[in-house]
């Protein structure tokens, strides 16, 4: 067992004599903080909520959101997206997509708002009516987060406008 432990880089790098640069300590500290946050996510409701808000771009400031982006949390949580040409009031009940009827439902593995941006159907939001609506839900353990957005066409651009829930951290 002692031989095994002695072979671990975790042990070696702090026992082998030699120079440890400030850069080494800075990277170790940053990764250590990220690891602590991830472990807190498992047990601490406020941390869970903050990660959910990160996924919905609801963090109180872009600066805080930017820092949190460095904490790896990909492919996490239960994330569902509902899109409709008709206004959505609360959690929609439809689970089948029907583009002809102007509605779509999908599960995504992370950052559900990317339904609007990171895809090959952006043209969907530029067709027919000038407005469409989006409802996002993410859940993790006992924490849930819902948010609603309006997609509004303004000349040649579609604007994502938070409606309910966004920015209330």
């Amino acid at each position: 067992m002692r031989d095994y432990i002695a072979k671990l880089p975790l042990v070696q790098c702090f026992t082998v004599q030699g120079r440890r640069t400030p850069g080494f300590y800075a990277i170790t500290l940053a990764l250590g903080l990220a690891l602590v946050l991830q472990c807190l996510k498992l047990i601490h409701p406020a941390t869970q909520q903050s990660f959910l808000k990160q996924f919905h771009c609801q963090t109180r400031s872009f600066a805080v959101w930017s820092l949190r982006q460095t904490v790896p949390s990909m492919y996490s949580f239960e994330n569902q997206v509902w899109w409709s040409r008709a206004p959505l009031d609360g959690r929609p009940t439809f689970t089948q997509s029907d583009l002809d009827a102007g509605r779509y439902h999908v599960w995504l593995n992370h950052f559900p708002l990317h339904f609007v941006t990171y895809n090959f159907y952006r043209d969907l939001f530029f067709m027919e009516s000038d407005e469409s609506y989006l409802h996002l839900e993410s859940s993790f353990q006992h924490q849930n987060l819902s948010s609603s957005y309006k997609l509004e066409r303004d000349h040649d651009v579609v604007r994502i406008i938070p409606m309910r829930g966004a920015g209330d951290e």
Binding site: Q12, L35, F62, E78
Partner: protein, 263 residues
């Protein structure tokens, strides 16, 4: 230049080359995404600063890593430092840009670029301490990245397999699921649960990487990541994992150098 310094530069070449390969494996996807959809159908969201909403920025940043090709061809410490900084800028802007922020590739490439920069700055060093630190940082990065994915799946939708079913198994395009269903006569929802558990187990193992001796860990982790490639059904996952596999395997080039306690 000593043999170790030469090896250090080769390590950088391999790790940086894997980063580069992973980044551009998305070329086909991004070519259409950037030049058809972002160009023709711009979307804005005031949560992001103006600069990070502009489609032109995401286009330029995607191709920025091309600048590191001379460093890969004729490596020197100075070139490697500049190349690493280029990769770090690329990953950071992509991670924060409206058009690309959600792609997990940016986060793995961000931490890999930080490691590459640190390694480049120190690549003249021949001491054992440097080598143990490089190995430790690679393991810590891999651990932190996979603990994030592991913890995020400890939730009913993943534990029951529902998320896996809805996102993958219910889709005709999920080749791995179709193959499994052809081999095993079982309820797709049950298969989804087992696949979901398999992914959680694999990510949990990867999260324990820091508690495994380097060589064994690097080989096991690379095999596990290739299995993830199979389960995720898209070669694009290599854009997320390529830089990590490259970093881990590149340090095996030190195999001929005695490292105390790890011969």
């Amino acid at each position: 230049m000593s043999k170790i310094e030469f090896t250090n530069l080769q390590i950088l070449r391999v790790a940086m080359g894997a980063w580069f390969f992973g980044w551009f494996i998305r070329f086909q996807y991004f070519k259409t995404y950037l030049f058809t959809f972002i160009e023709r159908y711009p979307i804005t969201f005031d949560f992001f600063p103006g600069f990070l909403q502009q489609g032109e920025v995401s286009m330029v940043v995607f191709f920025l890593p091309i600048l590191i090709v001379p460093a890969l061809q004729i490596p020197s410490q100075r070139r490697m430092i500049v190349a690493s900084m280029t990769l770090l800028v690329t990953a950071t802007i992509s991670m924060l840009h409206l058009d690309t922020y959600n792609d997990a590739t940016n986060v793995t490439c961000f931490w890999s670029a930080i490691w590459l920069l640190w390694f480049s700055v120190n690549c003249h060093r021949t001491d054992v301490a440097f080598r143990t630190q490089a190995r430790f940082l690679v393991q810590l990065i891999v651990t932190v990245i996979f603990v994030g994915g592991f913890v995020g799946k400890i939730t009913p939708a993943y534990l029951s397999g529902q998320a896996w079913f809805e996102m993958f198994m219910s889709k005709d395009s999920y080749f791995f699921g179709s193959v499994l269903r052809g081999l095993i006569d079982a309820d797709p929802r049950l298969l989804s649960r087992y696949l979901s558990w398999g992914m959680i187990f694999a990510e949990g193992c990867m999260g324990l990487m820091i508690l495994v001796p380097y060589r064994l860990g690097a080989i096991c982790a690379s095999v596990l990541m290739l299995l993830m490639l199979l389960m995720s059904n898209t070669v694009l996952i290599l854009s997320v994992l390529g830089c990590l596999i490259g970093m881990m395997l590149s340090l095996l080039m030190w195999r001929d150098i005695d490292l105390e306690g790890d011969r």
